[in-house]
């Protein structure tokens, strides 16, 4: 008698993704899919895909999806949620999408405490367009549009979105997690699940920022990329829960 210990969740389609080797999007997709699956809300989940590397996530989630214009996912999600208040609506966005062009949309969705979940994947670079500087690129980080390294005096320091959004009254839960090792993956899964639980209960806005590698555009092997993330991103983008009812208490 055999027992199946590992399977693709029904919330993910069994098809190959286009992601590069070592990219964390695949892991993060899975954690999101698992959370939705475990909460039993696949039937009423509606996702919003961004513009960026994860633009095609509408092909991967076995869930009704809408593809939004660059940065506008929180506005699109707002429109959906206001039509189907019972639906579990979420956005999946990258750093260029959420922290640059879509800053207004995410701030106001958070301020309204729109009853949606946002998964914010921060890999400190624009992936799909070929490795340009992101609002979250680190000072000194070399990208195709900061070929001499990001300069603080002309570009400022990277935006810490979780910290910034935590200053608003609206959000019910904001956490930053990473998927660089199994322990952090477990924490990431717990945070994502928590964010969706808040969604299912209709409590308000929840966001999980997930730090991710981009080996291709960072110009590294997957293993090097993980250690670059640990050495450079973790100190500036500390992991933790920035806002939750527990923290408030």
């Amino acid at each position: 008698m055999t027992e199946k210990l590992f399977a693709i969740p029904a919330t993910l389609k069994d098809i190959p993704t286009h992601y590069c080797p070592g990219c964390h999007h695949g892991i993060i997709h899975r954690l999101v899919a698992e959370a939705i699956q475990e909460l039993g809300v696949q039937d009423k989940a509606i996702g919003v895909a961004p513009v960026g590397c994860s633009v095609l996530c509408y092909d991967y989630f076995n869930i009704d999806m809408q593809e939004a214009a660059h940065g506008r996912a929180p506005a699109v999600a707002t429109g959906i949620k206001r039509v189907h208040p019972e639906a579990v609506v979420f956005t999946y966005q990258g750093d260029g999408d959420l922290a640059s062009i879509g800053c207004a949309e995410i701030v106001h969705a958070a301020a309204r405490s729109e009853k949606i979940t946002t998964i914010f994947v921060n890999n400190a670079i624009y992936g799909m367009t070929g490795g340009q500087m992101a609002p979250t690129s680190l000072v000194g980080q070399v990208t195709t549009t900061s070929p001499y390294g990001r300069k603080e005096d002309s570009c400022g320091k990277p935006i810490q979105m979780s910290e910034m959004l935590s200053t608003l009254h609206g959000p019910k839960f904001i956490a930053r997690v990473a998927v660089n090792n199994p322990a952090n993956m477990a924490k990431a899964k717990a945070a994502i699940k928590k964010a969706f639980e808040i969604n299912v209960k209709g409590e308000g806005f929840a966001l999980v920022e997930v730090l991710s590698t981009c080996p291709t555009n960072w110009g590294m092997s997957p293993v090097e990329a993980v250690s670059w993330l640990e050495k450079n991103m973790l100190p500036y983008f500390p992991l933790g829960i920035f806002k939750s009812e527990e923290v408030a208490k």
């Binding site: 999806m65 809408q66 593809e67 214009a69 506008r72 506005a75 699109v76 429109g79 639906a87 207004a104």
Partner: protein, 355 residues
């Protein structure tokens, strides 16, 4: 027959939307359409609808995208500068084939322009506005009653063709009050099996999308859109024709300008001049055929707009090179008066040897 009430154009659009079954509105304040957003803020909660003031026009149009993709009858409204901001979203909406009604209460441009009435967004509304090959259905009412009737029609057309419909008004028609009646409406309930509503037992996911990474697939989608546009061009041309049969001079004007032109035409007719009027009601699809037909007997055409000359290009396309097409326009928020237009008529008629 329903009781007549005196209503501002902007508010009449709002009530007509409610009558048409619109329960979702997302907008951002701008003169001269603010009465509409204010009306929706007050009215929609009374019918268990959703009103949301967005953080920008950009967000408002994307909320419309989300709501339309989720299957709702949804509307947004703005005026020229704000409508420019919506163009990105409108292109996506056209690409993803989402039904919605978008109101532009036009004012003088370009840039911040003026807040007085204008018609200089004709190109933007009818020729694209955003990127890519697409068409909005564009409807241009010329009275408050027609605003009501055409708003209701717009929702039906949007659903029928899965296409954005632009209700192109202007500051004058939005601000003026006229008696209106809300006739009994049987709201068409069109099934939207394509909407993203959550699977609810469905096996295939519904994805609202305008991205086709493979160019052959994108071309196939474009062909599909063009086929749809051809059907709309065939079925949805709307116009009004007055005294055109025997006219030596055919006037062409839409929206509020058509009424001023009508007054000038009446005066000219009283003076014995054979002048007629073709009023496009649908600006896209444009009534090329009736204008072309009129060119068989008319000696000349005069297009009047509150612009530097935009619709006149379509009139010239319809007429061809056989007959002269004259243009008279005011810009920047200036409204032409009927005396100015009458003078234009007299000048042209004298040059053509007619009285």
């Amino acid at each position: 027959m329903a009781e007549k009430i005196l209503m501002k154009g902007n508010e009449a659009i709002g009530e007509a939307a409610v009558v048409a079954g619109c329960r979702h509105y997302f907008g951002y304040p701008i003169t001269p359409q603010s009465e509409l957003i204010e009306y929706m803020a007050k009215r929609l909660p009374q019918v268990d609808g959703v009103f949301l003031q967005a953080e920008s026009e950009v967000s408002a149009i994307n909320m419309v995208y989300g709501a339309a993709g989720a299957g709702a009858r949804v509307m947004t409204s703005s005026s020229s500068p704000g409508f420019s901001l919506k163009q990105e979203g409108i292109s996506y909406i056209a690409g993803a084939e989402l039904p919605c009604v978008l109101v532009n209460v036009q004012r003088g441009g370009p840039g911040l322009g003026s807040i007085q009435p204008g018609q200089a967004d004709y190109f933007q509304a009818t020729k694209g506005g955003g990127h890519g090959d697409y068409h909005n259905i564009v409807i241009a009412p010329n009275s408050v009653q027609e605003l009501v009737d055409m708003t209701i029609l717009s929702f039906d057309l949007a659903d029928q063709y899965r296409n954005p419909v632009v209700l192109l008004a202007d500051g004058a028609i939005g601000q003026m009050m006229e008696p209106v009646e809300f006739r009994e409406v049987t709201a068409k309930n069109i099934e939207k099996p394509w909407a993203s509503t959550g699977l609810h037992g469905r096996s295939e996911t519904n994805v609202i999308n305008s991205l086709f990474l493979k160019p052959d697939e994108c071309e196939k989608h474009n062909k599909h859109l063009q086929e749809k546009y051809a059907v709309i061009e065939k079925n949805e041309v709307r116009y009004e024709s007055i005294h055109v049969e025997d006219a030596d001079l055919v006037l062409v004007a839409y929206g509020i300008t058509s009424r001023i032109v009508f007054s000038a035409m009446e005066k000219a007719r009283k003076e014995g001049m054979k002048v007629g009027l073709i009023r496009p009601i649908s600006l896209w699809p444009f009534p090329y055929k009736p204008i072309e037909d009129a060119s068989a007997h008319a000696k000349a055409f005069l297009t009047v707009e509150m612009s530097a000359g935009q619709m006149v290009e379509d009139v010239r396309l319809a007429v061809g090179r056989t007959k002269p097409v004259y243009f008279y326009g005011r810009t920047g928020g200036m409204i032409p008066n009927s005396a100015e237009i009458y003078d234009q008529i007299v000048t042209i008629m004298q040059a053509k040897g007619g009285k």
